[in-house]
């Protein structure tokens, strides 16, 4: 306000002077005097520019910089990117790898982690046959509907049942794992930053020993990729833990790769179909576009090739 009131006084004086001198400035042609802009205009523009730049700088000073309060260890090591074949837009899942990955899940992960959103039927035709899946489902017991006496009995599983969880509920899972809850793996690939890369790195990234000086709490394991670096899950994938039925050497990284691809399938079972639909859409839409170009040419042909001729009326001869 102070600056403005100080400015105003000379401004008015200058304005009055200029008004008095050239009264018909708007209508007359620009003379030599009006070619150079008056001082007060230059000053106002300069101050406005300075104020704009200053307020922007002040805003950046106050709110612009993001605060990084966490240390790198709390943030966790960002996962290394691997060239996953199934993530390319024109590639499907490797279904042999899915089958191996499910074997790894059943033999290693399933003792702690549930996969509750995946039913047995979804494997049929994707990586197993109907008979194989029926046999697997029948190995598990499920509750029946209440019978005539109102009792709930047990029955062998069917294809329409969902994969049973290893624990009855989250509390039981925590109690069995020293307070740590093993997350459900159905959507884990979608549910973690880094997706496939994160899980692969997590599974294979346990170092032989924690780096010097790193604090590892009791009952925890050091894993650089887990935010906070202390993870309750120990390393589970060791060379040769699983024996693959197709003879693939079951190294740690091979098993991790397979199980991650399987978990990606569990989270996105529609991926293969989605990509197929994409190619279909490209085929159909490009066909329609081509047809529309030809039709446009056809419809416009008479318009483009017409000739407008003005033949003046033949008046009576003068």
């Amino acid at each position: 306000m102070l600056a403005r009131s100080l400015l105003r006084v000379p401004n008015r004086a200058i304005a009055r002077q200029s008004l008095g001198k050239s009264t018909r400035a708007s209508s007359t042609a620009a003379g030599a005097e009006s070619a150079s802009s008056p001082f007060h205009l230059t000053l106002t523009a300069s101050l406005a520019t300075a104020a704009a730049a200053g307020s922007a700088a002040w805003y950046y000073h106050l709110y612009g910089q993001e605060a990084f309060a966490s240390t790198p260890a709390e943030e966790g090591l960002h996962p290394t990117q691997y060239p996953w074949v199934h993530q390319r837009f024109n590639k499907t899942f490797d279904h042999a790898a899915l089958r191996r990955g499910f074997q790894v899940y059943r033999e290693v992960c399933a003792s702690c982690h549930s996969l509750t959103r995946v039913p047995w039927r979804s494997f049929v035709g994707v990586m197993h046959t109907v008979d194989e899946m029926k046999a697997m489902a029948e190995e598990n017991e499920y509750d029946t509907e209440p019978n005539n006496e109102g009792d709930i009995e047990k029955r062998p599983g069917k294809l329409s049942d969902y994969i049973p969880a290893p624990y009855k509920n989250d509390e039981a899972a925590r109690a069995a794992n020293a307070g740590a809850l093993p997350p459900d793996l159905s959507l884990i690939v979608k549910g973690r930053h880094g997706g496939c890369d994160y899980i692969f790195n997590l599974l294979t990234g346990y170092p032989d020993e924690a780096p010097a000086g790193a604090a590892v709490a009791e009952g925890m394991n050091f894993n650089p990729y887990f935010p906070g670096t202390g993870i309750a899950m120990g390393r589970v994938l060791f060379d040769g833990v699983v024996e693959y039925e197709d003879g693939t050497p079951a190294t740690t990284s091979q098993m991790a790769k397979d199980v991650v691809e399987f978990l990606n399938w569990a989270a996105e079972p529609e991926m293969d179909d989605r990509k197929k639909m994409g190619v279909k859409a490209i085929a159909v839409l490009s066909g329609l576009f081509a047809i529309s170009v030809w039709v446009k040419r056809y419809k416009w042909a008479p318009i483009k090739s017409r000739k407008i001729v003005y033949s003046p009326p033949i008046g009576p001869r003068r």
Partner: protein
């Protein structure tokens, strides 16, 4: 229906293999394109290792003790070959070896240098124990940088080896 068949033919010719609900026959597995390459590669690799093994077996015997660096190289080669052979009987992961090689390469040398220096510093602190008057530190950050460099370097190599 010839017109719609044309589109299904086009789509099927684009290489989307149909999912077979039948029991997986060996022929069906090999016919799909993405699996062919790794299988061939492993075969080639084993062949190479066998042929290289013969030469490697001869070299250490001929070399004298003066040619120490060359001998070391030969020994490393032998180790690699052994690993590749063991994969058939008892699988051994190639990932730690690849990453160690990457960590020792020139690309990750600065990170390795910093990490080693940090480990040395911190272990000295721990030895001093309560006498140490300074900021307690750990090597997690240095470890992150080194690990990130090593895994990023080893990632494509590892994927070439895996099925």
């Amino acid at each position: 229906m010839g017109f719609t068949d044309f589109f299904t033919d086009v789509v099927s010719s684009l290489g989307f293999a149909e999912a077979q609900a039948e029991a997986p026959a060996a022929d069906v597995e090999t016919s799909s394109t993405p699996q062919d390459e790794p299988a061939e590669k492993t075969e080639e690799a084993t062949e190479d290792s066998e042929s290289a093994e013969e030469t490697a077996e001869e070299t250490p015997a001929e070399e004298s003790s003066e040619e120490a660096p060359e001998e070391e190289e030969a020994a490393e080669e032998e180790e690699e070959e052994e690993e590749e052979e063991e994969e058939e009987d008892e699988p051994e992961d190639i990932k730690p070896k690849l990453e160690e090689d990457c960590a020792n390469s020139a690309k990750c040398a600065p990170y390795k240098h910093h990490y080693d220096e940090c480990v040395e510093r911190v272990t000295r602190q721990e030895e001093e124990g309560d006498d140490f008057k300074g900021v307690k530190e750990d090597c997690v950050e240095e470890f992150f940088h080194l690990t990130h460099c090593a895994t990023a370097c080893a990632a494509p190599k590892l994927w070439r080896e895996l099925k």
